[in-house]
């Protein structure tokens, strides 16, 4: 996101709408005496477009230029209005468990794990995304094909990202995939270690098919290992059609 210095009057109305906080700098206009304008720090800005959509600029000074590769990945992951063609889903992730009732993406014995770097409100560099991705792949963690981050990998087996995206940033970037239930403890341990190496925050999510009867298989593992999980959750109602036939 950029600001037209010849339109901007430095009123700062756009400041509080930036999800990344104070990333703007005030400058004196080079030719108009007494006039100030805002410059957005292009290294920190993730091109999410929130300041523009807030529609608070009285002089229409904010604009989003078409960005070339690799900077375009910022808006792909950060602006919820942009659809990544690889996933065919607007936003930065996939359908994951939302359609599990018809796709069977997560079978009994499998656990979906998502790591959403940069969220909430901190943003992430792709170098940090790579740190977490590379920590998971040796443990049988299978990256989701349709996920944008997977598409930015030069080697999906190792989780290595393309060199040209490593210096880019995003409001949030999700690593999505799944592993076998028996590998869950190891994968969580690897995520915990990776958390110490990154310069951002990440939200962790865990998906399980709920059996018709009995305990949800991930619960005793999380409780035994001492991991906390939230009281709220996302729940598939099983109303989609045609119904996927899950093995017993």
């Amino acid at each position: 996101m950029k600001v037209d210095e010849n339109k901007c009057i430095g009123c700062k109305r756009c400041f509080p709408y930036c999800p990344l906080g104070r990333i703007q700098i005030l400058h004196r206009h080079p030719t108009a005496p007494g006039r100030v304008y805002i410059e957005i720090d292009q290294d920190k800005c993730t091109d999410c477009g929130m300041c523009f959509r807030a529609n608070v600029c009285a002089v229409d000074a904010l604009y989003q230029p078409t960005e070339p590769w690799p900077r375009e990945v910022r808006a792909v992951l950060s602006n919820p209005l942009i659809e990544y063609k690889g996933s065919q889903v607007p936003g930065r992730g996939t359908e994951e468990m939302k359609t599990n009732d018809v796709t069977g993406r997560f079978l009994p014995g499998e656990v979906g794990i998502g790591i959403e770097l940069g969220r909430p409100g901190v943003a992430t560099s792709f170098r940090d995304v790579e740190v977490v991705a590379m920590a998971l792949t040796p443990l049988g963690y299978e990256m989701a094909e349709e996920n944008p981050v997977t598409h930015f990998m030069s080697d999906r087996k190792t989780g290595k990202l393309r060199e040209d995206v490593l210096d880019e940033r995003a409001t949030s970037a999700i690593i999505e995939g799944k592993c076998k239930l028996e590998n869950l403890a190891e994968v969580l341990e690897a995520i915990k270690k990776a958390a110490e190496k990154v310069d951002t925050v990440f939200s962790v999510e865990i998906i399980s098919k709920v059996p018709p009867k009995g305990e949800i298989p991930i619960i005793p593992i999380l409780e035994r290992l001492g991991y906390e999980y939230s009281i709220n959750s996302k729940n598939n109602m099983g109303l989609g059609e045609p119904v996927f036939k899950f093995p017993e």
Binding site: K12, P16, Y17, C18, P19, L20, G21, R22, C48, M50, R53, A54, P80, Q88, V89, P90, G91, R92, T94, E95, E96, M97, K98, T99, N100, V102, T103, R119, P120, G121, V122, E146, S172, A195, V198, D199, T200, V201, F202, S203, V204, E205, I206, K209, V210, P212, I218, L222, S230, I231, N232, S233, K234, N235, N236, M237, G238, L239, G240, P242
Partner: protein, 214 residues
Amino acid sequence: MTHSLHRRGDRESLKGDFVVLGCPATGVNKKGSAPKTREFLRICWKHGPVNLGDMKTGNTHNTTIDDILDRVTDGTIVQCTFDNREKVVSLLKELKEKKPGISVIVSGVTDIVQGIMDEADLGRIHTVEYSMGTWGKTERLPDFEVLKLTTMCGHAMIANDLVGKLVRDIKRGRRTPEEASLEIAKCCTCGNFNVTRGTQLLREMLPLYMMNRY
């Protein structure tokens, strides 16, 4: 994409907070899904959501329900936010009967959602996704009171500073808590922001916060 999952708050704060999503599946029922998604939205609208939207079009606080319905295409994912358990029960009963055919997902406190499903005769949750919280440099996060509001937008489009500005506006008499909550709702394009809960949270923040910026 987990934009309704990581909402922060205690049970008391989250017990009246539900996001109902309608999602067609790529490669299964996405082709020709637009009429089903519109039917899903019409049913949801009847049951009185406090917010409703589609990521690409906007929500009912920055556009109209007719605009949202008109711009539904094959593959559109839609969200409806409710502030009341009974509304979700009646909604799920109708969805069970009319079966729009796309996947339906409800985010909320797990045991309350299961209770709703039991009442609507839907049986057990099909697939569950839990949040395991925020890891890493958590010292960079704002106060929990601010997070309760900002995490209602899973795309992280609600700025921490906006919450501060709005609290200040309310304290100065420039806006009511209801108006401030609606201003936040406009930032969350998808329609996931629960304006009733937002108003309540802002009221709770007023005696706790003194905001100096902006």
